[in-house]
């Protein structure tokens, strides 16, 4: 690895990881602001104008809060669980292309931290590891609510992971590549969401599964407050709780980014951005378009939370196994047939 490549990598990590963390922090504020707006309240408005400094204040508060671990907890796993919950979401940042590749003097610098050819597999692997933090957190707390919440949540996550994987394979079939940059580049003429019917159905399945994977409403049975208090993080406090929280919001940001890349053409905007001559302006405009799409999905995540009631457990499992999984498999078969016969 040359020094220039190393510097480029470090800059990319600083920018993209920074964007993800800040977006996650800002969404915690917007979650409260939007919920207040939907419920005709004010929301946080004391720390700074319009409450903009609230995430910062929360972070500081979390640091100085007392850590409490229940007496029967397993010390090693109790500490490890928040880290294992947050890390997979952070690691997914590695493969997401935030904008168009930068072309300087003929060299192409891809705008994902690691532009690897098995990018989609990496995302799937990280997604399948996200379940550990929740399982271990629930188990190590030695609390009935935590254990039930962890068990439910992990069963839910693995159930929806299947439908999500199959819908991603549909995208791979359409694109013919596992490299995320190439996947969005293949969509510049036509976004996958508009490839009717296979792309549209895959988008719907991925979106629903994304809600379930991030344990968001209407699938947040892990912590349905009325029956399980806080679910798997009932016993967590201080920064350990904050890491669970940050992990959830980072996962939301990442899911939004991946939906954008898989179905909405990533940073492309009807060929407008793609046609820009100046390499730097093209990269910045692409980043802007990408982040705008991500913010739309973040808003959708929050909007749904404050609008739709929660599923019941059996409804949730039936939806995953009896509707989404068979539908996604049939959709993949259809996509395969269309691609193999040369229609798409």
């Amino acid at each position: 690895m040359t020094t220039a490549a190393l510097i480029a990598t470090l800059v990319k990590i600083a920018v993209f990881f920074g964007i993800t963390i800040s977006l996650a922090a800002v969404s915690t504020l917007f979650e409260r602001k939007i919920s207040a707006w939907i419920q005709q309240r004010y929301g946080p408005n004391r720390v700074g104008p319009w409450g903009v400094l609230q995430p910062l204040a929360d972070g500081l508060k979390f640091i100085f809060k007392e850590e409490v671990a229940p007496a029967g907890a397993n010390r090693l796993l109790f500490r490890l669980a928040p880290a294992m919950a947050a890390a997979p979401a952070f690691m997914t940042v590695a493969v997401v292309p935030f904008t168009f590749p930068l072309i300087l003097d003929g060299t192409r610098i891809p705008m994902a931290i690691a532009d690897i050819d098995i990018g989609v597999l990496f995302f799937m692997a990280m997604g399948s590891l996200a379940v550990y933090g929740i399982m271990l957190g629930g188990w190590a707390s030695n609390n009935k609510y935590s254990l039930l919440g962890g068990l439910r949540s992990s069963a839910q996550m693995i159930s929806y992971e299947l439908a999500m994987m199959v819908s991603v394979i549909t995208v791979l079939t359409l694109a013919g590549s596992m490299n995320l940059t190439r996947i969005f580049e293949a969509q510049i003429p036509l976004w996958n969401i508009a490839v009717f019917p296979v792309g549209t159905i895959a988008f719907g399945i991925f979106l629903i599964a994304a809600f379930a994977e991030t344990n968001r409403h209407p699938f947040d049975l892990a912590e349905c407050e009325t029956e399980l208090v806080g679910g798997f993080h009932t016993e967590y406090s201080s920064m350990k709780f904050a890491l669970f929280f940050l992990g959830e919001y980072s996962a939301m940001v990442m899911m939004s980014g991946l939906i954008t890349t898989f179905f909405l053409g990533g940073p492309s905007l009807f060929g407008l951005v793609n046609g820009i001559e100046d390499p730097w302006i093209k990269v910045l405009a692409g980043l802007g378009v990408f982040l705008a799409k991500v913010c739309f999905f973040l808003f959708l995540f929050i909007w749904v939370r404050w609008t739709i009631p929660r599923f019941r457990w059996d409804q949730l499992m039936h939806l995953g196994w009896k509707l989404l999984l068979p539908l996604s498999l049939a959709n993949l078969l259809l996509a395969g047939t269309l691609v193999a016969t040369g229609v798409l």
Binding site: L77, D117, M126, S128, W139, L147, G150
Partner: protein, 203 residues
């Protein structure tokens, strides 16, 4: 650059694997096994099998270990009781040593299978999106690939037969009542939990 990274990964794999055996708490063992899988995935990556590395994480760490943890959570395996069984503790290491010796003798004689599969698996991470792997798997070993689906089907039948034993509601209820009774009997013998006094309520 490559050698120190390999040494770290190899040492990590051995350390985690040793902990799987040495730790008493089954959940901790499971987590250490995940750590060992991570190190192995790193080694696969280093020898040029990125596809295999991703699958190692996806299937072993992401699916099979989740099942293990589920079973641990379901069965209330809090602490493994230390058992004294002198016969097993002498036979087991001997058997393991024998098996390892056998492997060491047999493995160098199997370069054929390794060589043909190697190129295909290594190509799976390449720019072509794993064309070689696809040719190998779906062309040359077409029948094996289709047989895999039958194997998975057999797995599905097996688990349904095991987990979905037909029982009448009445029998279920009786078993539940029995369990509750048995539990309440054992509870009385257990000492109270730490900090479970009345004072916990007052605050």
């Amino acid at each position: 650059m490559a050698l120190p990274v390999f040494l770290i990964l190899a040492a990590g794999a051995v350390f985690f694997a040793a902990n799987v055996v040495l730790r008493r708490n089954p959940a901790e063992c499971a987590v250490h096994l995940v750590g060992s899988f991570f190190c192995l995935a790193g080694i696969y990556l280093m020898i040029g099998f990125p596809f295999l590395a991703a699958l190692q994480l996806l299937v072993y760490a992401g699916a099979i270990m989740v099942l293990f943890l589920f079973v641990i959570m379901l069965l209330d395996l809090r602490r493994e009781e230390p058992r004294e069984n002198p016969r097993i503790s002498t036979i087991a290491p001997l058997a393991m040593g024998l098996l390892f010796g056998l492997l060491a003798v047999v493995l160098p004689d199997m370069p054929v299978a390794v060589a043909t599969g190697r190129g295909a698996v290594a190509g799976a991470g390449g720019a072509e999106g794993g064309k070689e792997l696809a040719n190998y798997l779906f062309g040359r070993h077409l029948l094996t690939f289709e047989a895999t689906s039958l194997l998975l089907l057999a797995g599905i039948f097996g688990v349904v037969v095991l987990a979905k034993r037909r029982t009448s509601r009445k029998a279920d209820l009786e078993r539940l009542l029995e369990n509750i009774e048995a539990e309440s009997r054992t509870e009385r013998k257990e000492p109270p939990l730490v900090g479970a006094g009345s004072e916990g309520v007052a605050s």
